[in-house]
Amino acid sequence: MNAPAHGEHHDPFAAKLGMWLFLVTEILLFGGLFIAYSYMRARYPHEFHHAGGSLSIPIGVANTAVLLTSSLTMVLAVAAAHRGNLKRSLLLTWSTVALGGLFLVNKGFEWAAKFHHGVYPNSDHMASLPAGERVFFGLYFSMTGLHAAHVIAGMAVLSVLAILIAKGRIGARNPVVLENGGLYWHLVDVVWIYLLPLFYLAA
């Protein structure tokens, strides 16, 4: 049946296409910030280098490992759902949510340390910094902040999906909602894959 039978409203490919169309708008949203970053970095190379040196590479790398691992648990949760192993899928989905939480806790410590040193938007200390360093921290807070907001949204979506798995509404026959939630989570991971070198390694 090319068209689904009447009364049956499942079109998994359309569902996935819709998700991808949303994801590409997300790519362009972050893409605009990446362009802003690269232009500003070209304009203030020394200030970016100096300000970037104040970020903790171990924390940034640890958080990368956490997020990459959460992407693994996510994709395994989808694979388990395909195989009808819903118990495993549920456990892996909650693991993904937990790893997202761990990421945010690390991020929270990192931001708190910056705040403690007077580095936060509109602070007196920020005002005393050279223009290029203000731009660096402005981009740092807005890009990692927007990313963190996506992590929070992803955790909320995955929590709802976990409940749907537990209720038997997602399974081997209808995994597409979980797949789409996974796609969102992986995109958030891809954004962080770029943020790590931009702010921590190559600034």
């Binding site: 090319n2 590409v24 990368t64 992407s71 395994l76 694979a79 996974g182 992986h186 995109l187 390694l201």
Partner: protein, 100 residues
Amino acid sequence: MSDYASHRESDGHAGPGYGTYVAVWAVLLALTALLVLLSRFGQRAAVAGLLTITPVKAALVFYYFMHLRYERALLKGVLIVTLGTLLIFFGLTYADVAFR
């Protein structure tokens, strides 16, 4: 049977095994370690890593975790058009900045 379902079944209904995903994850961690190592050799090396290793990592996530490898050309096309558009924005921004 919709196109989509038949397409998926021809790929093996369940998609790749757990092992494939674990292997991709291990490669992603290894590439991250390589990126960090490279950035210890100074700015140029770090930027080179950013421009080479990072896109490879992103591609691995898109291709395997986000399943694009197993999808129809339409979904791949949507992403390629988007990334192309972004690249044009990058290019136009730099063309503007360079000739000010």
